[in-house]
Symmetry: C3
Subunit: 357 residues, 3 copies
């Protein structure tokens, strides 16, 4: 399997509060009257990750965390990545902390490729000291200098998908860059700069991943419906650049529509797989309704906890198995076709899009 979008793991043993915080997209403190272990994802961790640590399925959170602490993050990470059965990981490195590509590859013992976050590069360029006039060319150079298999945009988080679908003019970009630099050039959220970064990414020519839909409360979910990208998608089409809509829940049917009608659009239901736990089989089945099988991919969007690398793959395999077995048992699909589709989505489509072979 290829996990075409994941992040590193925290090189530390998280306490209970931190661990629970990594089981939700909420960035708020867990209220004292509840635990994030009581969630579809929490139950799935206890079910599928406890045995990897030598515990019985459904182990209690306290027990799980105690054994996890004794083994240490390093050993836990190795075990989870081994158990995942993932043969190749595309690591998106735009989050602040977490293991880098080299360290992650060392621990994982399997090929790891980098996906570069556009907004992170733009913020690095700004931090490095640059004038507004230089910023566009310096950003393009920085992007060109990065060896990566793909790019990632988080315009969904920083603005929403209801942005002007045309590339901004250079003068407009320089003006926006000036205002941003004067304000300290920290977190980029100006739509002109975000669109500039996105279109510079298109010029770079690598496949572009877009965070789509469900995610932390930075975003406004109704402004992240992938259908709002329709005109942008049409504008990108003549450039010959692949777009990959990530996660997409609860708008995955909309994403599958876009993947059917636009040859350069692909999608996955990563993130939602982990977070919907035992219900992920239903979400995966829905994701197989409209899109040609060549246009769906697998990702975990794991971040922080190696459990999420393992669990994403585990739930995807069982969800796919259930969906496909259902079609084979009903006589709708042949067994051979089912196996072929599982391989396309689990591996071959990613190899083709990112030119991994």
């Amino acid at each position: 399997m290829v996990d075409h979008h994941a992040h590193g793991v925290l090189p530390a043993d998280p306490g209970r509060a931190e661990f629970e915080g990594l089981l939700t997209e909420s960035d708020r403190a867990v209220p004292p009257w509840m635990t994030q272990f009581d969630s579809p994802l929490g139950f799935a961790v206890r079910r599928w990750c406890a045995p990897v640590l030598g515990l019985a399925p459904h182990a209690a959170p306290e027990e799980y965390l105690a054994v996890r602490g004794t083994l240490g993050w390093n050993e836990v990470t190795r075990r989870m990545l081994d158990a995942s059965g993932v043969g190749c990981v595309l690591l998106e490195t735009g989050l602040d902390s977490g293991l880098g590509v080299a360290e992650f590859a060392g621990l994982a013992g399997r090929p790891v490729h980098e996906v570069v976050r556009l907004e992170a590069v733009l913020e690095e360029v700004a931090e490095s000291g640059v004038s507004a006039a230089e910023l566009p060319s310096r950003f393009r150079e920085a992007l060109a200098s990065r060896s990566a298999v793909g790019l990632k945009s988080i315009i969904a988080y920083r603005y929403g998908f209801d942005f002007d679908p045309e590339p901004p003019g250079e003068a407009e970009v320089v003006r926006a860059a000036g205002a941003w630099l004067r304000q300290g050039a920290t977190r980029v959220s100006d739509p002109v700069l975000l669109r500039f970064a996105l279109w510079a990414g298109v010029e770079r020519g690598l496949p572009i991943q877009l965070h789509t839909a469900y995610g932390d409360p930075d975003l406004e979910l109704h402004r992240c419906d992938p259908l709002l990208l329709t005109r942008f998608i049409k504008n990108v089409e003549p450039r010959g650049v692949d777009l990959l809509l990530l996660h997409c829940y609860p708008f995955h049917r909309n994403a599958a529509y876009l993947a059917q009608v636009f040859p350069h659009v692909h999608f996955d239901v990563g993130l939602a797989i982990n977070h919907t736990g035992a219900r992920s089989a239903a979400v995966i089945a829905e994701s197989l309704e409209l899109a040609p099988f060549a246009k769906a991919l697998y990702s975990s969007d794991a971040w922080g906890l190696p459990e999420l690398h393992h669990l994403g793959a585990r739930l995807w395999r069982s969800g796919m198995s259930r969906a496909l077995a259902h079609h084979v048992e009903s006589g709708d699909w042949s067994f051979d076709d089912a196996v072929r589709v599982a391989r396309m989505i689990g591996r071959h489509n990613a190899e083709r899009v990112y030119r991994l072979r």
Copy 2:
């Protein structure tokens, strides 16, 4: 079980047309070429309520209504509430007719608490004779004087969720109140007054229920997507007031997202449970995809017919049983966890939010 949002029953024996009218959210006359009994809800009434009247399951509508008339609304109400297995009802009293809290509690023979509808109180204050300048303070006093476990907003019906998420200024409210009073101060639909009532509710400090999504054709459904509340939700967050998104169908996945990321947001799929009948199991299963289990509640949103009190609880129990049994049989969940989650959603979460114990 706690039914955290229901209305009273009509203290009368409805004729067939009136009975059918209470089986749909449509306020239009039932066309002569159809019957509302031929609907998911109509089939569910015949299946699950007929036996409570001593009839066979799937009894014909004529037979059902004949026996119902013979027993009388009083006896039917007692039977249905007994059969429901609901131990505590939160009654929203803002609808014009129907049994009041005391009478309902008498018939029900179990604890009943009141939920006060903000717009109904505002309209009462206006009717009682008040100047525009006095209206804000008089409304706050009226609200303070009501003993209730929660408040309810129907801004979805009266305007939509695309309202300005900031509290209105006092001068603005007085101006809007003046215009409203001059026009006779009947049905309040001015967005400034609706927002005023909502924010006064926030100041009152009780949990606030918001009618969300599916309902009668007064509302425009696309303007009642709970995601449109995102900024309002963020503005309420520092006030420490719980928000409860009611019903939410067909946007229940969106509601569950909000319940995951915001600690003060809760939700249910009441109303949809009754109206989707045999399909409610699927809707309930979808509602369990993203939210922590501490954030989902049960309600019937029953109104007019005691059948709906019984049916909501009956369908919720069987839908939950099917969803949870599925996860237990597949090995995803332990049996003990499944029972615990059913108790949280069916009872304990409501007890915590409304401080019922």
Copy 3:
């Protein structure tokens, strides 16, 4: 069964590229690295249409196309229409090519009625030579002269559902007609003219089908959510004209809501049935959640390939059977009710709406 919305078949033997192009709503060339046979619809064709040509289920695409070519489109069409079990087809004739009503009826050997596309009539009137001032009356005359059981609007494709819900004034229409005629009066996309055609259709008094939601990339899917029609639907209500929302995926739950609350609104999940293949059973089950059973219809939206006429009916029957059998086995529905509902949706509702008997 009545198929209340379908198109003709191409009177020719398509090559592989053309055949694959008819298996998708995409109008783009199929990329060389994929085949449209690898899709839910492609698999369904191999499963359910291959036996009609004397091949084993799941026959390879090459084998399927070879036998199909040998038999010829005429024989294939007859076989597929026979196998479909559809007793009556409503043919929408607004697409350029394809067999006309008489030829189709001849091949089909069963009753065929015409549904007239409003925009096609408007474009014909313009082509025939007309002044802007004459266009409104000439269009109304052309519409009156057409013998049809229903009308069809593709305003979803040409503009979207976010149009002004009031009828345009005559002067406004003449002005828009003038501009359109000066530009050559080809494809009509001016919203004033589209609204004019739609309201002239309402005046004509026949049931009006509206393409809704999923379709080719001409449209912007988020602007084709049927909920955006709410005010238009309310404005049409006093005219006593039935509206039929076609296809509706992925907004079929929204369409079912409209069908519940407005007596003149009906809907189907045609098109989505074929395109979701083995998953169509799930889509059909969702479409049965909210609407009264008198308000749902069956259509294939088949176009070009007679396979789609057969497959739509085949998948609808098996999807309905699964959904209804599920409810009967669980005890929620009686067997007799299930059979009755299948007949209503498969046939009787269409007979009533289009006055076919």
